[in-house]
Structures are given as structure tokens and as C-alpha cells.
Amino acid sequence: MSGRAMLEVTSLAKSYQSRNGTTDAIADVSFRVASGEFVCVVGPSGCGKTTLLKCLAGLLSPTAGEVQLNGEPVRRPPPNMAFVFQDYSNSMLPWLRVENNITFPLRHKGVSADRRAALAEETLRVVGLGEFARHYPWQLSGGMQQRVAIARALAYEPEILLMDEPFASVDAQTRSDLEDLLLDVWARYGVTTVFVTHDIDESVYLADRVFVLNDRPSTVQMEVPVELPRPRDQITTKELTEFTKLRTEVMRTIKHARRSRSDEERMGQA
């Protein structure tokens, strides 16, 4: 881990009260993310990844433990943090043009009109949608809408970027394009990134470090440092033996976590 710790998660736990009683989503999660680092959180579906990310974002308050950003406890969404949601269609405002979707958070942040326009223009160009500023989101494909969401996050000029399975609902080709776009943007802006996914290949391909969560209630099952060379490439990086080794390692951990869990359940029933 290089650089100072920007984000520090200490013994975070989260349970929900629902009609069926209490659900424990996160049991005990601790980790640190250094400034400028790209971290992936990977785990089986429904393991509480999104809950974890929303706790980091200050959208949910943890039941126990603490999240600190630059040494300050996070109690509500911090102004230097941006969030990219999984569901692009519902995180875009259909009555606003693409450029206004990007500047919407900026207006509330108190950014001047000139600066807002400049940021929208720049970030749209960076995500390759320069000529779509005057379109409406619903005129764009899913992959393009998610690019707009990335542009919106970048225009917010965050120090830290949280992404919740942002590429889960686009097709495979678009997905690898978006992964490369994200790596470019990350390198260019040097923004600390926490990226949640259930896709093991994606996590290894993108990250400096991968945290493997186990089934809910989640704990960090394993931390995998990824020392693959950058810039990464969909073909040459994925051909490396090191890549294969890492993804096998992560996959085995997840499988093991699931198996030990179902063993426990069987024991419980017996």
C-alpha cells in the first residue's frame, strides 16, 4: 500500500430491521484505502457489497464501527466523494439534457455557471460523448448512459470515487470498453476508487488490491494485492499467467467461503 490512508473502515457492521426480523448484512469489515489507489470489493451476489459501499458513502449509517475519510468520520455524504450507481437509467434525470444531468450536482455544490459548463464539456469529452451534450439520457444506449454517469462523477471533482457494480447491466463488449475507459480516467485524474463488483475477472483486471467478501453477514475473507503492470490491456493483461493465478485465487476463496457457509447451514439444520 503506497501513500497515506485516505479511507479507513474500522470494524464496520450493519444490520437491517425488517418485517422478518433483523438481517445482518455486514458482520465485521475493516480495511484501508490509500490515496490514489484503485480497490475492488468482490463477493457473491447478495453478500452486502452495496450495503458496504453505501455505508462508505454516508448514505447508510453503520450499526457499529466507523468510516473515516481523511481522518474525518463519515456521517453523511462528503462533498469530495462521488458515487456511480449500478442502475444508470434511474440515476439519470430523464427531464434534463445530458449536460444538465452532469451539472445538476454542481449547481448544488455552488460551482459557478462558467465552471460548470467547462466541467461538463471536459468530462463529456473524456468519456467520448462530446457531441451528446444536448441529448436526453433516454436517447442514449445503456453503455453511453453509464459513461454520462462517470462524467457526472468526474465533473464533481471528487477525491474519492465509489462505484456500485456500474457495468453489471451492459453487454460484454461495452463492459470491457467501459473498464478501459475507467482505467484511463483513473490514471488521468488520479482519483481514489472503490469499485464493487461480483465479477472476479473485472476485479482483478481493474484493481491494485482486491478485497474478497464472503456471504452475508460479510467479513473480509481475503485481501489480494494485484501487481499486474499498468497500463492494462484486455488481451495482453488477461493472457498473463499472473492474471490467471490471481483470478483463480480469488475464485477459490469465494467458492471456499460459500462451501464452508453451506456446510454450516447443513450442520445447523441437522
Binding site: 458513502a57 448514505l59 453523511r76 455524504p77 462528503p78 462533498p79 466523494m81 462521488a82 458515487f83 450507481f85 442502475d87 434511474n90 440515476s91 434525470l93 430523464p94 427531464w95 445538476f104 450536482p105 448544488h108 455544490k109 436526453y136 433516454w138 436517447q139 464533481y156
Partner: protein, 256 residues
């Protein structure tokens, strides 16, 4: 001819044909109840291009306009509050359901008692009777706002007021507008009824009064004017709706 052109031609031709048929039928029949078309037309022009317009049509339109604006403002504001705060909504729901189920015209005697037979009573009846579609649709609209949109705004530090103004209101707008349109037709009905029951002027009064004077052509001229008012109001409404809610129509359309 394009399909669009054909449809437009039909839209214009069918009413004209119906009018011509009425003219032929009523002209030959010389019925007391169905006066000839040219007679109605004549009275229509004489009445509504003269003082009678100021005397009867304008008061009606004024009541309608004031009542409608009032009910939209009230309905949307109350609806926003009720939609946003579940507890308040739960508390007032039975009372609101009761008021809604009550035929507004049943309140006319009460209105006369409290407000007299002037404009206030009629506006009261229009508001209390026609507010419901706006109110209930606003509540539904607010409820239906996508939680993800609100969460996105929260993640970007947009305050509560900003979220209401810039997400809840525009997202609920299509429903609100649907309610406004229904309310408009109810408001017109209530305007006419309240003027028939207790009034010294207005189109409702005029229609009833003409019938009592056996001025059947006048009665028809009044009815036709009411029809035109309803038609034009709805037409303007649809026009405005189309431009304001372009995003809504198209985002749900095949373009996606």
C-alpha cells in the same frame, strides 16, 4: 395524401357532416325543441358578440379560472406534503376519502348559507369538488418517485429542499398534469351546476333561464358556447402538456 393529412381531414370533415345533417333534419322538421341550425347560429352570434358575453360568459370564465388556479395550487401543495410524509397522509386519509366520496353539489346549499349566492360560493364548490384528481395524483406521483434518483441526489449532497424542487416535483409532474386535466372537466361541470342552482348571471344561469323563457335557440346557443369552452380549454391543455412533458412522452416511447 399522407396518413396524417387524412386523419386531420377526417377530424374536420366529420363534425361538419354531422352539423350539415342536423341542419337538414331540423330544418325540415320545424321542431320546437330542435330549432334550425341557422337560427341557433344567428342567436349565437347575436348573444355572444354583444353585452351578453360580458354579462354571462365572462363571470363564468372568471369563476372557473379563479377556482381552477386555486384548486391546482392547493391540490399540488397539499399533495406534496401528504405524499412526502406518510404519517400525515395516513392520518388524514379517512377524512379525505369521505370528502372525495361526497358529491360536491350536495354542498351547494351549505355554500349558499356560508358564502351567499355570489362568486365565493361557486368558487368554493369548484375547489372542493374538483380538487381531488389533482390532489390524489400528486400524492401518487410523489410516492412513485424513483428512490434511486433521490439517493443519487443525496449522494451528491443535494439538500432536502433541492431534492423536492428538482427531483420530486419534476418526477411527479406527469401524474400531476393527468390530475389537472381531469380536474378541469369537473371544474367546468361544477361551474355550470352552481350557476344553475343559485345565480343571477353566468352561462349555467343563462341556459336554464332561456329554457324557462322558452327561448330554445338561446338555450342551444348557450349550450354550444359551453361545449366550445370545454373543448378549447382541453385543447390548450393538451398543447401545454405536450411541450412541458416532452421528455416523459418520448422517454417511454419506442425511441428507447
Amino acid at each position: 395524401m399522407t396518413r396524417r393529412g387524412l386523419l386531420l381531414a377526417l377530424e374536420i370533415a366529420v363534425p361538419l357532416i354531422l352539423l350539415a345533417m342536423y341542419a337538414a333534419w331540423a330544418g325540415a322538421k320545424e321542431s320546437f325543441y330542435f330549432p334550425p341550425l341557422d337560427g341557433i347560429g344567428e342567436r349565437f352570434v347575436e348573444l355572444w358578440l354583444s353585452d351578453r358575453f360580458v354579462q354571462d360568459a365572462l363571470p363564468s370564465l372568471r369563476r372557473l379560472a379563479i377556482g381552477y388556479v386555486l384548486l391546482v395550487v392547493l391540490g399540488v401543495s397539499i399533495g406534496l406534503v401528504l405524499g412526502a410524509f406518510r404519517l400525515v397522509q395516513q392520518a388524514v386519509q379517512p377524512f379525505a376519502e369521505f370528502l372525495r366520496a361526497l358529491p360536491a353539489v350536495a354542498l351547494i346549499p351549505f355554500g349558499m348559507l356560508v358564502f351567499g349566492v355570489g362568486d365565493t360560493m361557486k368558487i368554493f364548490i369548484i375547489v372542493i369538488g374538483a380538487i381531488w384528481p389533482v390532489l390524489l395524483n400528486t400524492i401518487d406521483g410523489v410516492r412513485g418517485v424513483d428512490p434511486e434518483m433521490l439517493e443519487m441526489a443525496r449522494a451528491y449532497n443535494v439538500g432536502r429542499w433541492g431534492r423536492i424542487r428538482e427531483i420530486v416535483v419534476p418526477a411527479a409532474l406527469p401524474r400531476v398534469v393527468t390530475g389537472m386535466r381531469t380536474s378541469l372537466s369537473i371544474a367546468i361541470i361544477l361551474m355550470v351546476v352552481s350557476e344553475m342552482v343559485a345565480s343571477r348571471n353566468g352561462l349555467g344561469y343563462f341556459v336554464l333561464e332561456s329554457q324557462r323563457r322558452f327561448a330554445i335557440s338561446d338555450m342551444w346557443a348557450g349550450i354550444v358556447l359551453l361545449g366550445i369552452i370545454g373543448y378549447v380549454a382541453n385543447f390548450l391543455f393538451v398543447r401545454a402538456e405536450r411541450s412541458v412533458l416532452r421528455w416523459h412522452r418520448e422517454s417511454k416511447g419506442p425511441a428507447r
